[in-house]
């Protein structure tokens, strides 16, 4: 018996609506800091191409010219403007990471919810299959296919997504199992609502907290993976501007021209920390989010 259940008063015409997950998460300072950090990098990446002083492939000076002499942050190994390449280089990384996360988490969530709802041998098969996939480290799996088939961007996205799939499926299944057991799912079955509608209309809306957290977490991993694979030469190919690639191209002259490496490293670091903080805030807010049931 609860004594502190927030109850609306009968004559209250505008009952306090539960604020959204993001709004509740934003009440904490860490989430706010994370949000600001993420936005800084996102704006740099998406608005950057419009603001850059030069084309990313234009030669503006001698190779490794130091900052200030030629452009704000100097030039890179071929004499291209570091700042322009930095502003152009984030966009693709972002898109690849977001696409890979969306595909991986989307499919993973589907597998997880279906496994939780159907149970029986389907559940066993999906989850044990996932266990096999989990035995491969994510980066090794990606390296294997990328080095056999070749550095194609679609393959890069696919491999990162495939890496996320079993991990997401496992977490989502755990969250969905408890929702499946609840009476409103049985109520929907009793009136004969189609099973796919029950999955999408009854179960998925009740695990949005888990999905949001999972998306944020996997996005953080995706950024690291995509940047890492680009650094290894398996992502964007020269002469394209790309943060991962920039680090690789300019690392030998780190002491002469640190900016060409430091800028993309800083951006990736800030982005990773930022998304992580936001995810953390979301996770904390979502713990208290499904307060529909007490007892």
């Amino acid at each position: 018996m609860s004594t502190t259940r927030p109850e609306t008063v009968q004559d209250d015409n505008k009952p306090a609506k539960q604020p959204t997950l993001l709004r509740r998460a934003l009440r904490t300072t860490t989430t706010k800091v994370g949000m600001v950090l993420t936005l800084i990098v996102l704006i740099t990446a998406f608005a950057g191409p419009l603001l850059s002083p030069h084309s990313p492939t234009e030669f503006v000076g001698a190779p490794y010219a130091s900052a200030g002499t030629s452009g704000v942050f100097g030039t890179d190994n071929l004499g291209r403007d570091v700042f322009s390449r930095f502003l152009h280089g984030g966009w693709t990384l972002m898109m690849l990471a977001i696409a890979a996360t969306a595909i991986g988490v989307g499919l993973g969530a589907l597998v997880g919810v279906v496994a939780a709802y159907v149970r029986g041998w389907v559940d066993e098969m999906l989850m044990r299959g996932g266990d096999v996939a989990l035995a491969f480290p994510q980066i090794v799996l990606a390296l294997l296919f990328l080095s056999i088939i070749g550095p194609k961007l679609w393959l890069l996205v696919l491999m990162v997504a495939v890496g996320h799939l079993p991990r997401t499926a496992r977490v989502v299944r755990g969250a969905a199992v408890s929702v499946v057991e609840r009476d409103f799912v049985k109520a929907a079955e009793a009136v004969g609502i189609a099973r796919w509608r029950i999955v999408l209309g009854e179960i998925v809306p009740n695990i949005t907290g888990t999905l949001a957290v999972e998306f944020g977490l996997r996005l953080t991993y995706s950024i690291g993976l995509v940047a890492g694979l680009s650094f290894l030469g398996l992502g964007q190919q020269p002469p394209a501007a790309d943060w991962g690639l920039m680090i690789n191209e300019n690392r030998i002259a780190l002491t002469v021209q640190p900016w060409a490496v430091a800028l993309p490293v800083l951006a990736i670091a800030i982005l990773t920390v930022g998304t992580n903080l936001v995810t953390d805030g979301l996770a904390r807010a979502s713990v208290g989010s499904d307060k529909g049931v007490e007892q």
């Binding site: 018996m1 609860s2 609306t8 409103f184 009793a190 009740n206 529909g292």
Partner: protein, 614 residues
């Protein structure tokens, strides 16, 4: 003071001993709103005395109970006042002293024994944890405790795990643990709510005896007036964080001064159905939105402007009987008697026929040879304790449990086992209402979406969807603006009304109500039963009403089937079965239910033909 009191309690228990518990002007607030959850609480409980704390959910009774253990729930804190257990003040104790206090001076028996006992520990380990001393003395005491709570004390029993015990046995283990260290005060938070009536009777008896044997003060928290009336020496009625009436049990029952107490008493179902169940409209306000003046004024039939502007002070009507009300002792307006239930007419055509039904989970049989037919427009009650298979039977009818054999026909057509294999029309005709309204409504849909979802599923597209929603809400006595709310914004009673509205919107023939009131307060239960009786009379609904509460059966059903261990042991009209029960199980059920009789004067039957206002 304590030196003088201690010998007095042992040598001469008849003289007034020093109180074991004193609560002085206690106030607990919520953080960060700083709204008072409970305030101005004054209590005294003497050794051997049981104080019953009664109130609806949200009245702050659990908060008070936990405060006696020097425990505040998250986001609450004590904001003034004192609690003394014996001569020790709880405020400002170090955590070490608090740990010594809990389990030794003050113990706690929670609502659910299953969650209070560690499932990984044997009974022996569990009980020994509460005691200190040599192995010999500890084991001696453990066996003594088990005998006192009427459990076996052999090694075989001591080696069992909690899951190998029944709910009643688990609760008695919890009682033994609580009394192990001979505490001065014991706090019981609805310890019998989850138990069957016969088990409840045993547990209450055990509690009473243990309190007397150990001359231990007890605070018994419950929403069930019938249980408290049976057990407690004194009663404190809580409403909206304050004690609105307190006095000796007999005094409070016979001469209740506060209108809330009177309405709570009227809400208790009468075992003999001589008077109707009357609910209290509305629900207890949340601490954040308490009305000014007397908190009960919005729901009080006697309230006037003075009640709405000033908080009534505590006044003593007779010695030891206090009340917080400006209208103390005034007669409530009489209650209108609903028309009596139509008697059962065997000539009518049966709507639902069950023949030779057997069901089980895995290999275990749960139901055997069930034969039952339900006539149009009547209410059949399935009465049974937990584990009797009544919910399984209901789920078989609703198509939610397909593991059964036997025949199931609805107006002459055989029904498929799974709801997915039935026709849309058949699914529409049978509607199921779940026990727990906190579980059965998807929290992500508004009330309108919840109703329309079911309507679309069984009736296809309807042209006037808004009218359908509004009509359903009106049937369930909900306001039109409830349509835009989410379940989280509704109280338990309102949620269950939404579940009823949702079922009615499909225009069903048979409504299956599976323990629909057991998760709710007594006052809410009464208003739901009123609602269902009205609907049955008005729309000719056929009800299958599943319950463990005999008093409810007498108030709603025409026919009753008593289930024991998966078989129907007795079946007949309600008058027949209760006037002359044949099966020993029915007899024992009737004997263990507390027969709560209202004092004269609180309820005067009014002939239904007369003007209801007079």
């Amino acid at each position: 003071m304590s030196d003088a009191a201690a010998p007095a309690t042992t040598s001469n228990p008849a003289s007034t001993p020093a109180p074991a518990l004193v609560v002085d002007d206690l106030k607990i607030i919520g953080i960060p709103s700083r709204a008072a959850i409970i305030e101005a609480i004054m209590l005294e409980v003497r050794p051997g005395e049981i104080l019953g704390v009664v109130g609806e959910s949200g009245s702050g009774k659990t908060t008070l109970g936990l405060a006696l253990l020097n425990y505040c729930k998250q986001a609450t804190q004590v904001d003034g006042g004192h609690i003394f257990v014996g001569d020790q003040e709880l405020a400002g104790l170090s955590w070490r002293a608090v740990r010594r206090l809990r389990g030794q001076a003050v113990t706690y028996i929670p609502q659910s024994p299953a969650s209070a006992i560690n499932p990984a520990l044997r009974i022996r380990t569990q009980l020994k944890e509460c005691l200190s001393g040599t192995e010999r003395t500890v084991m001696h005491r453990v066996r003594e405790l088990l005998r006192e709570v009427a459990l076996p004390d052999d090694d075989d029993f001591l080696a069992r795990y909690p899951h190998q015990l029944s709910g009643g046995q688990q609760q008695r283990i919890a009682i033994a643990m609580a009394f192990a260290a001979r505490p001065a005060l014991i706090v019981l938070d609805e310890p019998t709510t989850g138990l069957d009536v016969s088990t409840q009777a045993h547990v209450l008896e055990t509690i009473r005896e243990m309190c007397k044997t150990y001359s231990c003060a007890a605070v018994y928290i419950s929403h069930d007036m019938a249980v408290v009336a049976e057990l407690a020496d004194r009663i404190a009625v809580m409403y909206s964080g304050r004690i609105v009436e307190m006095g000796d049990t007999a005094e409070v029952l016979a001469a209740s001064q506060h209108p809330y107490t009177a309405r709570l008493l009227l809400a208790v179902p009468d075992l003999e159905a001589n008077r109707p169940m009357v609910g209290i409209p509305g629900h207890a306000p949340s601490p954040m939105a308490r009305p000014t003046g007397c908190s009960f004024s919005p729901r009080c039939p006697l309230a006037d402007d003075h009640c709405r502007s000033a908080v009534p002070p505590e006044t003593e009507t007779t010695p030891g009987h206090t009340v917080r009300c400006f209208k103390a002792g005034q007669q409530l307006p009489p209650v209108v008697t609903p028309p009596p239930l139509e008697s059962w007419d065997s000539a009518k055509e049966p709507v639902l026929v069950i023949h030779g039904l057997q069901a089980g989970y895995g290999g275990a049989a749960v139901l055997e040879n069930i034969d039952l037919s339900v006539q149009a427009g009547e209410c059949v009650a399935l009465l049974g304790e937990s584990g009797s298979g009544k919910t399984t039977l209901a789920r078989c009818i609703a198509g939610l449990h397909s593991g059964f054999t036997g025949e199931l026909t609805l107006v002459g057509e055989p029904l498929a086992r799974s709801s997915f294999k039935r026709t849309q029309e058949q699914r529409r005709r049978i509607q199921y209402i779940f026990q727990n309204p906190y579980e059965s409504l998807n929290p992500r849909r508004t009330v309108r979406e919840l109703i329309l979802q079911v309507v679309h599923a069984v009736r296809g597209k309807v042209a006037n969807s808004e009218a359908v929603v509004q009509e359903a809400l009106a049937h369930a006595s909900l306001r039109p603006d409830h349509a835009d709310r989410y379940p989280d914004q509704l109280s338990g009673g309102e949620r269950q009304r939404v579940a009823i509205a949702r079922a009615l919107a499909t225009e069903p023939d048979v409504l299956i109500c599976d323990e629909i009131t057991s998760a709710l307060d007594v006052s809410v239960q009464s208003s739901l039963v009123e609602l269902l009786r009205g609907l049955q009379a008005e729309m000719g609904l056929t009800l299958v009403f599943i319950t463990h509460n005999i008093a409810l059966v007498r108030n709603i059903a025409q026919q009753v089937a008593v289930l024991e261990a998966g078989r129907i042991v007795e079946h007949g009209t309600v008058e027949q079965v209760f006037a002359d029960p044949q099966h020993p199980y029915t007899v024992s059920l009737m004997e263990s239910t507390p027969n709560f009789q209202l004092p004269d004067g609180l309820y005067t039957p009014t002939p239904p033909s007369e003007d209801p206002t007079g």
